[in-house]
Amino acid sequence: MARSSLRGKNEINAGSMADIAFLLLIFFLVTTTFPNDRGILFTLPPKPDPNQPPPDITKNDRNIFKILVNSNDQLLVEDEPLENVFLIKDMVKEFVLNNGRNPNLSDNPEEAVVSFKTDRGSSYEIFIDILDQLDAAYNEMYGERVGMTGDEFRELRNTVNKTPEQRAQYDKARGIESKGAKPTFPKNISIAEPSKVGG
């Protein structure tokens, strides 16, 4: 008698287990925020030494690529107004890779400096747009030196533990001939303190 009833239905009804798991699942789905720690890395210049006067700038004017932004987010690139921010990348590349051909552009990549100045009233959005353009320009130029695309070079730069081959490739792109030597193709981006003019 008992045996036959056992044979009939002996399982625990596990159908509602799924519902319980669903409840928990939905809770975690809603609370999950995927950490998105990505962005543009930048190193600030060191604090100025009060005992030392600021160094004199003896750069030739042709070696400085000037980008100015006013408080209305209007651009002045090389003393000419510019509408489209996304043209800066190609302008910078032309400027740095000039190698003395055009007398208005840089002597060589080692001397070339990109100077970027905003106003206190400029928006952060345009600052990031321009910084991104400058980064893209240099990544593409570095990539071209070792036969990569800009994106591939960026991947290489972001690799933390580089293999010796990767390290050699990276140093070659940046023009570092021996360990500790100054790069012959440096990334000279100078971000000036914002002006307080307003207009």
């Binding site: 798991a21 060191p46 996304f86 990348k89 600052f127």
Partner: protein, 157 residues
């Protein structure tokens, strides 16, 4: 005919015993990947997008500063403010905050601290510059402008 009908009566329902297992698998995935927010963000955060991104490797070395228009404008006004941890602060308090953050790290790692700046796209460069001056003062010079990736390819090139 009657034989056939008997057979179908024997077991009609689909076995659902494996369903909880599948759901549990999903559940564990989300439990493991979930990072519960420690801070309530008091300022508006619409980050600008960029293309040339780097990823931060050591999460323990990162401290966050949030800048943007306060969400509670009747309490804090409409001008962009700086938030660290759970409070809104003035630029001059940043040096002290950086010292506190550095104290949380191992001694050898203190100079490797990275400040992640999460800044609303509508914020002005004036307040950002003030923050950066303070960070230079505090000798926390490695910074990252947090920006999600730009989706459209035409503008980014």
């Amino acid at each position: 005919m009657s034989k056939f009908a008997k057979k179908t009566k024997a077991s009609q329902d689909i076995p659902t015993a494996a369903l909880p297992d599948i759901i549990f698998m999903l559940l564990f995935f989300f439990m493991v990947t979930t990072v519960l927010r420690e801070t309530d963000i008091l300022v508006k955060q619409t980050l600008p997008r960029a293309t040339q991104l780097s990823k931060l490797e050591k999460k323990s070395l990162v401290s966050h500063i949030y800048i943007g228009k306060p969400k509670k404008t009747n309490l804090y006004g409409t001008e962009p403010r700086i938030q660290v941890n759970d409070v809104l602060i003035e630029p001059k308090d940043i040096v002290l905050w950086v010292q506190q953050e550095k104290d949380k790290l191992e001694e050898v790692e203190r100079d490797a601290i990275t400040i992640s700046l999460k800044i609303d796209e509508e914020a002005k460069m004036g307040i950002i510059s003030d923050v950066q001056q303070q960070l230079r003062e505090a000798n926390a010079r490695k910074i990252m402008y947090a920006t999600p990736e730009r989706i459209d390819e035409t503008a980014g090139g």
